[in-house]
């Protein structure tokens, strides 16, 4: 192959800076979306496990819609279609007056998409807590809210740490889809370096290394959290050796 390699583009100005900005944008979108996803996911997951029929149907619709429509399509719908459906003034505000509409849209879309997946995990985690725990909590006089807060959720969260780790890894990777609505995150900056220097392989190698580094850091952090929160004698209590 007649490719002339030039690794020095990665440390040249302004390309090194673009990578840093891209990384910062990727982190911002991912962390903000993760916050939304955790709040929405926990709320919906709890409602879904509450055996209330109306709540069950509503949360079921949310999960089915947001989990089954591809993220790429969701980003596009939020960015281009939603402002057209809303009444004129609101749509115009979303399109024109909202600061950085593409970044806000990306965070909301990624947050709600991941939230639907976390909701399923939370709800499954609550179901996985031995049934007697719920009964015992109510029998000792705790309200439903207190039962969730002090008995069910603390155990459920410990159970779902491994799938939650995957979800957090995925949110960082999925943040790259924000480039399709014009957010200059890491992948977009990488493409920009390629489109200017034609040293695409070097730029993509750098992005790959950065994504892997983020993923490894998240994995290590979550493993520490898991070890630190483990309760001996419960389903989540053993220290597991896994990826």
């Amino acid at each position: 192959m007649n490719y002339s390699w030039n690794w020095s583009v990665l440390v040249q100005d302004p390309y090194a800076q673009w990578l840093v900005w891209g990384l910062a944008m990727t982190m911002t979108i991912s962390v903000a979306a993760l916050a939304i996803a955790l709040v929405v996911g926990t709320g919906v997951g709890v409602l879904h496990s509450s055996h209330n029929r109306v709540a069950g149907v509503m949360t079921g619709i949310y999960v089915s819609v947001f989990r089954n429509v591809p993220l790429l399509l969701q980003m596009f719908l939020w960015f281009f279609v939603v402002p057209e459906i809303l009444p004129g003034g609101a749509g115009r505000w979303l399109k024109r007056d909202l600061p950085h509409p593409e970044i806000v849209t990306a965070i909301v879309a990624l947050g709600l998409f991941t939230g639907s997946r976390i909701a399923v995990q939370v709800s499954a985690g609550i179901d996985a807590v031995p049934r007697g725990q719920r009964a015992a909590a109510r029998a000792t006089g705790l309200s439903a809210w207190q039962a969730y807060r002090f008995v069910l959720l603390p155990q459920a969260v410990r159970i779902i740490i491994p799938p939650l780790t995957s979800e957090i890894l995925t949110i960082f990777k999925n943040s790259s889809i924000a480039l399709t609505i014009g957010v200059y995150e890491l992948t977009a900056q990488t493409q920009q370096i390629q489109s200017i220097t034609y040293q695409g392989f070097e730029a993509f190698t750098a992005a790959t290394v950065i994504y892997v580094a983020i993923a490894l850091a998240v994995t290590l952090m979550m493993r520490r959290v898991e070890n630190w929160t483990a309760l001996p004698g419960t389903i989540s209590g053993g220290v597991h050796v896994r990826f």
Binding site: R92, Q194, Y198
Partner: protein, 290 residues
């Protein structure tokens, strides 16, 4: 008995040497590859209308495509093949340069702008089209130039040459223009038609194409002084001088005998883009005699 094998061997060596010496003048990596495969692989795009795109039957079509079919004829007669197969290979913006560089594609025939940076990876043929960066706006908006966009918004294709150009012009003139980066031309047009932005800017030929496909083309206008001068070339592997000269000879011959101008009319008149004076001059310049 001892001498004859040596004589034969000697004659053979001389033949081989002279053969390779003769070859060296009329052959290079790409020519050798085409000869050994009996096929030329042509890169095409799926939606670079009207340069290179796929029609309803899934067949590659377009102005650049027609030029490359002529190139294949030139190559076929130049290397004396009775039969040359044409292999069409789909390429996109991201992979076209690597695919030409690594030899998967012998010649990429679409709408690649010749830039110094790209020349570090591939070689370009003579120019066969000139595009200029201009603005697509709604006819009623009254916007004529970039400066009219002060306080307004513009859509630009993400990571493109026009994007960098317009951003630098906005910075130079200290204009307050919000930039919305879009993934492709269809999204750029969508942003303009839904009033997310007041203008969409890229190569004027692509803007004319978008306008011609709009529900009511007269609602949109391509406006503004040309902001750039971009010449399109066919991409070939670096340092394939023999092949490149066959490609350029084809373009020269077509420009000289008027076939290139005919092809232009075939592809560009239907979308209402008459031959510009700049391109007419360029076609005269590349019409080098045999």
């Amino acid at each position: 008995m001892n001498i004859r094998p040596r004589a034969v061997l000697g004659a053979f060596v001389i033949c081989m040497l002279s053969a390779s010496w003769a070859e060296a003048q009329s052959s290079d990596g790409v020519i050798d590859r085409i000869r050994s495969r009996g096929a030329i692989s042509i890169g095409y795009r799926d939606s670079s209308i009207p340069f290179s795109y796929v029609d309803a039957q899934g067949k590659p079509q377009g102005y650049s495509n027609d030029i490359c079919l002529e190139v294949a004829q030139t190559v076929k007669s130049a290397i004396g093949l009775t039969d040359l197969q044409i292999k069409m290979v789909p390429v996109n913006l991201q992979n076209r340069i690597p695919l030409v560089a690594n030899g998967t594609v012998d010649i990429s025939c679409e709408s690649a702008v010749n830039t110094i940076a790209r020349q570090s990876q591939v070689d370009f043929s003579y120019p066969f089209f000139i595009s200029q960066t201009r603005l697509l706006v709604k006819s009623k908006s009254g916007i004529v130039e970039l400066k009219d966009l002060d306080g307004k918004a513009i859509a630009l294709p993400i990571n493109s040459v026009p994007e960098r150009l317009i951003k630098s012009l906005i910075e130079k003139d200290k204009l307050n223009v919000r930039v919305v980066a879009v993934k492709d031309n269809a999204e750029g047009f969508l942003a303009l038609s839904t009033d997310r932005v007041d203008a969409f800017s890229t190569d004027d030929i692509l803007l004319f194409g978008l306008r011609s496909k709009a529900p009511t083309p007269s609602d949109y206008s391509v406006v503004g002084a040309p902001l750039s001068y971009d010449s399109y070339g066919l991409l070939v592997q670096k340092n394939s001088t023999v092949f490149l000269s066959l490609v350029n000879a084809t373009l020269s011959r077509m420009a000289r005998d008027g076939r290139l101008q005919k092809l232009y009319e075939k592809w560009f008149v239907p979308i209402d883009v008459p031959l510009s004076p700049v391109l007419a001059t360029v076609l005269k310049i590349i019409a080098i005699p045999e």
